[in-house]
Every structure is written in structure tokens, then in C-alpha cells.
């Protein structure tokens, strides 16, 4: 344990948790690089095609627009804003630790605030306007679908997996991962920011909820002896550190898969908002992700696109 976590003595000489150690960051960076390089060579060794996968059309194209909408404009704006603030957060968190020093604290918590706003927007947007469960559901069949896909990847002998709905299993797993780690980072980050000076509040090292030290008189006026003073703060820093480090891995792998040539068609959908009909049919099961329900689609120049919303009536954002 000692290698990953830093312990420090509080002013009374008691050993308390302090934060994560630098090694954890180096480990994460190392793992990210190893994962990317490893996947790249593994993928080549399995002979999968280098360039964009051909769209072997099976299902009928009848009634399907040429461009299938995958991400509406609002959700794309959300994604890229969130991505920007996430990148700024990661840079301002880890680049100083790698040696390039600059005034990172303020940028960091401001980016954090932006991230919080985008996530609030996203939660509302996903519940009201998007098919919330298509991303969040994690039932037994979802796992089977994912397992099948995974087994097929490992050895071509295994049977062709069934096609997924709008969000394949690995996407949903990844999304859950991001939700958990970034929420952890945000919650702990807010406590950490509440302890330092900002234009909105004065610094308070003993922020009431985080650190319940013996202070003779606590807020309620009676003597309070809880866990060693300073330990709660240490725990917050550890969680923030772990979440941050995990985000290095997750963001790195996410970006890697996005820029892989064979996935480029998929990545474009987060930029242009749509995928072409062939890839839709090649990779998705229309029953799970039906698009052609006849509702009027917004028509970007050069062809009709079908929005992916299924249930609620479309409301212009």
C-alpha cells in the first residue's frame, strides 16, 4: 500500500492519509501507453484491416435515409465542451507534476466548474431528450452481448456476435466508467476547492463536512472527537487522485479508439452527427436501434438523416 498512497503526520503527530503518490500517476501514464501500443500491435497481428471497414450490406435499405443521425447538435456541443474541460483538467493536474510549472490551480478549478455545468446539462438532456436507458441499461442480456462480442474479438473461430443497439456494450461500460470516475473527481474536487480561496469564498482548511478535527469547540459548541483530524481530508485527496489517474487511462484509450482508422467513420458521427446507412446496417441491429419511423428528420445539406430518438416526440432544442 505504501507505494501508492502517501501518509503524513497531522499536527498532533498521528499518521493520516495524505494523498496518492506520484508513482500512481507514472503507473497510469505507463499503462495507458502500454495499452495503446499493445492494442495496436495485437490488432495488426490479428490481420484485421487497417483502414475503414467495408460496409457489407445485409439488411434491406428500404425506408432508411442515407445518413443516420447518431448524435444531435446539442449532444455534440455537450461532448466537445466536456472533452475540452476534461483535457484542461488533466493537463493542469498532471503537467505541473511532470515538471512544466505554471499557475494551474485556478485554471483547474474553473475547468472543473465548466465540467460540472456541462454534466448537469447532459444529465437533464439525456433524461428528457435522449433514450436514457439505451446507454445506461446493464441487464443480463447486455452482458451476454458484450461477452459474445469480446469472445469473437479474441478468436475468429467463435461465432459471429449478434449486432448491438445504438450503444454497443463496450460503449456503455465505458460510459459507466466515465460517470463513476468523473463524478468521484468532481465531488472530491468541489470539497478541495471549497478549502482554498476563490473569488466566491474564503479559504477554510477545516471545511465542516470534510474534516471534523478536534477543535475544542466544534460548530455545535461541544467537544468533538471523531476520526483522526486530517484523515477525512486525506481520503478526499486520495479519491480525487485515484479518479484523476483513472481518467488518464480512460481518456487516453477513448482518444486512441477514436483516432483508429477503422473506427473513423464512427468518430465522424461525433463531429458531423451522422453515420452512413451502410455502416448502420453493418454494425447495428435495426430492431434495437430503429431509425426509419417516418418522423420528419432535419435535413442537413446533401441528404436526409433520421434522428435516433425513439420515444418522446421531437422537440427542437
Amino acid at each position: 500500500m505504501g507505494r501508492w498512497l502517501d501518509f503524513e503526520s497531522n499536527p498532533w503527530g498521528q499518521e493520516v492519509l495524505q494523498g496518492v503518490s506520484l508513482e500512481l500517476m507514472y503507473l497510469a501514464i505507463g499503462l495507458a501507453v502500454l495499452f495503446v501500443a499493445g492494442h495496436w500491435f495485437w490488432y495488426r497481428s490479428r490481420g484485421f484491416s487497417e483502414h475503414e471497414e467495408p460496409a457489407d450490406v445485409q439488411g434491406s435499405v428500404a425506408g432508411l435515409p442515407e445518413r443516420i443521425v447518431r448524435h444531435t447538435l446539442p449532444s455534440r456541443i455537450f461532448h466537445w465542451t466536456m472533452a475540452a474541460s476534461m483535457l484542461v483538467l488533466l493537463i493542469t493536474a498532471f503537467v505541473p507534476l511532470l515538471g512544466l510549472e505554471f499557475a494551474w490551480v485556478t485554471i483547474h478549478w474553473i475547468a472543473g466548474a465548466v465540467l460540472i455545468l456541462t454534466i448537469i446539462y447532459h444529465v437533464i438532456h439525456s433524461i428528457v431528450w435522449q433514450d436514457f436507458w439505451s446507454m445506461m441499461s446493464m441487464g443480463a442480456k447486455d452482458f451476454r452481448e458484450g461477452l459474445g462480442h469480446f469472445r469473437h474479438l479474441l478468436s475468429s473461430k467463435s461465432p459471429e456476435p449478434e449486432k448491438p443497439g445504438k450503444y454497443p456494450f463496450d460503449h456503455r461500460m465505458y460510459h459507466w466508467g466515465i460517470v463513476v470516475t468523473s463524478l468521484a473527481a468532481i465531488v472530491t474536487g468541489v470539497f478541495m476547492t471549497l478549502r482554498i480561496k476563490t473569488p466566491f469564498w474564503e479559504p477554510n482548511a477545516y471545511y465542516p463536512l470534510v474534516d471534523q478535527a478536534v477543535s475544542g469547540l466544534n460548530e455545535l459548541g461541544e467537544p468533538a472527537i471523531t476520526l483522526q483530524p486530517g484523515a477525512a481530508t486525506g481520503l478526499v485527496f486520495v479519491l480525487h487522485g485515484i479518479a484523476g489517474v483513472l481518467l488518464i487511462l480512460m481518456v487516453a484509450s477513448h482518444i486512441y479508439f477514436a483516432i483508429r482508422p477503422d473506427k473513423r467513420w464512427f468518430t465522424w458521427s461525433m463531429i458531423r452527427g451522422w453515420i452512413d446507412r451502410e455502416h448502420y446496417l453493418a454494425h447495428f441491429d435495426p430492431d434495437k436501434w430503429s431509425v426509419g419511423d417516418g418522423t420528419i428528420q432535419e435535413n442537413p445539406p446533401g441528404g436526409a438523416i433520421a434522428d435516433s430518438t425513439v420515444s418522446a416526440p421531437r422537440v427542437d432544442d
Partner: protein
């Protein structure tokens, strides 16, 4: 593990006689090496057993780091020159009295006889939370105890803080910034020159250090450019007692004047931030203007804009304001 004070832990002592040997020793020990100048700051750390270097590298034997010589147009002061030498140096007194004045306000005669100019500007902060060995941000921890709502922060910072609210304790630092001095820092393979103003870094940049110096860096010389020789200088230090104490607030100012018009000004205050604060806005205000009481008063007001005092150091605002006023007023 219990805590005990006042007993220097064992260390090896290396006494190089050339800068090369010193740099070699510093490289050899890396983080485990400690560079010792006058030692007044270092012994506090050692005796409290908070810093426990594997080896102490004593610069006392390196004569090339000592003494004051004439530079091309200004002065070249070896980092190991004692403060007393500076106070008594004829040319410093005649052309750069600001530096002599600041050096004379350091602590006590005995400390000035032993303390060095290099040591005075690269000493660590004296925040009593940090110097008690508490695991605050500056010590690599996750808390600033001095910024807590009920903390004892009479001698802490009112501006330029980022989590850490400690102040720069150096008396000669503001004078050197006002004189636009250059700090020569030697590494193993490189030698860099820093403007005095950039030599001191704030907690926003690196909360664990007060200056740019890192292990492996050796401050060898401080050059005073000729540009500010014989300027109109003003130095004042406010402290509790007549000797020993660090400043509550101090001001060091250099004015190029014609009559009582200020042609150019460099005004620096210390004791109010984790680094000596150069008052750019005030300098712009007073440049090219005739100094009078009104200008002095306005200069004081502008100097303290943006300050955010803690519970016990609000007095530093009027104190700083009045010191800047007195500096500008001295030209009138």
C-alpha cells in the same frame, strides 16, 4: 514516531573549494544534498529535525563566490558575500545605498557577519505552521493551516497567494528587485541569468519553493546593473522589535528623478506576499509626474488594490499603503 526538536541529525559534510567541486557534490547527492551558505536558515531546519540531508555541502570554502567587484557598469556581488561586507562596502554605500540599507536591517550584527546575500534571498519562508513541520501544502501536504478561518495569520500574506499564504521573509530581496538585479544560477552544464523579479516564484507556480532554485542549481552571483546607480532610493522596514525580527511590511524603491519629477520608478514591497511584490500599477502612475502629497496618497491607494487580507493581517493594507506613500513622498 514521536517528535523531538533541537538536535541536528547526523549528516556528511562536504567542503568544496571551487564551484565545480560544489556542483559535482550537488549532483552526486541529488535530493539528499543540502547547500549551506551562512546557515542561519538551514540550522533551524536541521535542529528541528524536519530536514535531514544525507550530506551538507558547505560553500564557505569557495572564495570565488565571495567579494564585491566592479561589473561592466554596475557591481558583481558573490553569493557568499556576507551582509556586513555589503553594508560596509564603499561603492555599495555611495551608489546603491538602497541595498546597504536593506542589508543593515537584517536581524542582528552577528547574523549579518555570518549570513550571506545569496542565503538571504534564497531562504525559506518563516510561516510558523510550515516551520513547525506541519504537513501543509508547501511541505507537500493537502492543507494550508494558516489560511483557516480561525488561524493565527498576523504575519501572513494579503496578496499573491495560491493556497499557501506565507510571505517572503527576505530583507534584501525587495531592494534587489528595485535595483533590477540579475541572479546568476549555475547548473552542471548550464548557467542561467534571472531577473530578480523572476528569481522569486509564487505558490501558484510551485508551492514548495520560494525561488527558482532546484536541487542541482547553485546561485553564484548577484549583478547590480549600473542603470539605477545613484538613483533616489527609499527603504523602510516595519517590525515589532528593533532587531532580529523579520518585516511585517517593508518597501524598497528606486526613482530616477529630475528635480522632484519622477522619470522612472521601481517600487517593491515585501512581507505582504509569498514573493517581493513589484508595484507595476504604481510605477506607471508616478512615472513622468511631479511627486507631491496627492500623488503619494494616490500611489498608496493603488498599491493595495486587489489585496485580500486574512483574519489577523488586515493592518498590512494601511501599513503597505503608508509605506508606499512615504516612498513617493520622499521624492517631493
Amino acid at each position: 514516531m514521536a517528535i523531538i526538536r533541537d538536535m541536528i541529525p547526523a549528516f556528511e559534510l562536504v567542503q568544496p573549494t571551487t564551484v565545480e567541486d560544489a556542483l559535482a557534490a550537488m549532483a552526486r547527492y541529488g535530493e539528499g544534498g543540502w547547500v549551506l551558505a551562512g546557515g542561519l536558515d538551514s540550522y533551524d531546519w536541521f535542529k528541528d529535525r524536519i530536514k535531514r540531508p544525507e550530506a551538507v555541502i558547505d560553500l564557505g570554502g569557495i572564495n570565488e563566490l565571495k567579494g564585491i567587484s566592479n561589473g561592466q557598469d554596475g557591481l558583481e556581488i558573490g553569493a557568499m558575500t556576507t551582509l556586513t561586507e555589503i553594508v560596509r562596502h564603499e561603492r555599495v554605500r555611495s551608489e546603491y545605498i538602497l541595498l546597504a540599507d536593506a542589508a543593515e536591517h537584517v536581524a542582528t550584527p552577528q547574523i549579518r557577519n555570518q549570513g550571506t546575500l545569496g542565503g538571504n534571498i534564497s531562504q525559506d519562508t518563516r510561516c510558523w505552521y510550515y516551520r513547525s513541520g506541519w504537513a501543509c501544502y508547501r511541505a507537500g501536504g493537502n492543507t494550508c493551516y494558516a489560511a483557516a478561518p480561525q488561524a493565527m495569520n498576523r504575519e501572513h500574506a494579503i496578496m499573491g497567494t495560491s493556497r499557501c499564504v506565507a510571505v517572503s521573509p527576505s530583507d534584501t530581496a525587495p531592494a534587489l528587485v528595485a535595483l533590477d538585479a540579475k541572479m546568476i544560477v549555475r547548473g552542471r552544464r548550464s548557467s542561467k541569468v534571472h531577473d530578480a523579479e523572476d528569481f522569486f516564484i509564487g505558490p501558484a507556480t510551485d508551492i514548495t519553493r520560494m525561488t527558482v532554485l532546484e536541487s542541482g542549481d547553485l546561485l553564484t552571483q548577484i549583478n547590480i546593473p549600473g542603470e539605477w546607480a545613484n538613483a533616489h532610493f527609499y527603504y523602510e522596514k516595519v517590525r515589532d522589535r528593533g532587531s532580529w525580527d523579520f518585516q511585517l511590511v517593508s518597501v524598497a524603491a528606486a526613482f530616477k528623478t529630475s528635480g522632484n519629477t519622477i522619470d522612472e520608478a521601481r517600487i517593491v514591497v515585501n512581507g505582504v506576499a509569498p514573493f517581493p511584490v513589484r508595484l507595476d500599477a504604481v510605477e506607471r502612475l508616478v512615472t513622468g509626474v511631479t511627486a507631491d502629497e496627492a500623488l503619494a496618497t494616490e500611489a498608496g491607494e493603488i498599491a493595495i488594490q486587489g489585496s485580500r487580507p486574512l483574519k489577523y493581517n488586515e493592518y498590512k493594507e494601511p501599513m503597505m499603503r503608508n509605506l508606499v506613500r512615504r516612498a513617493v513622498r520622499s521624492v517631493a
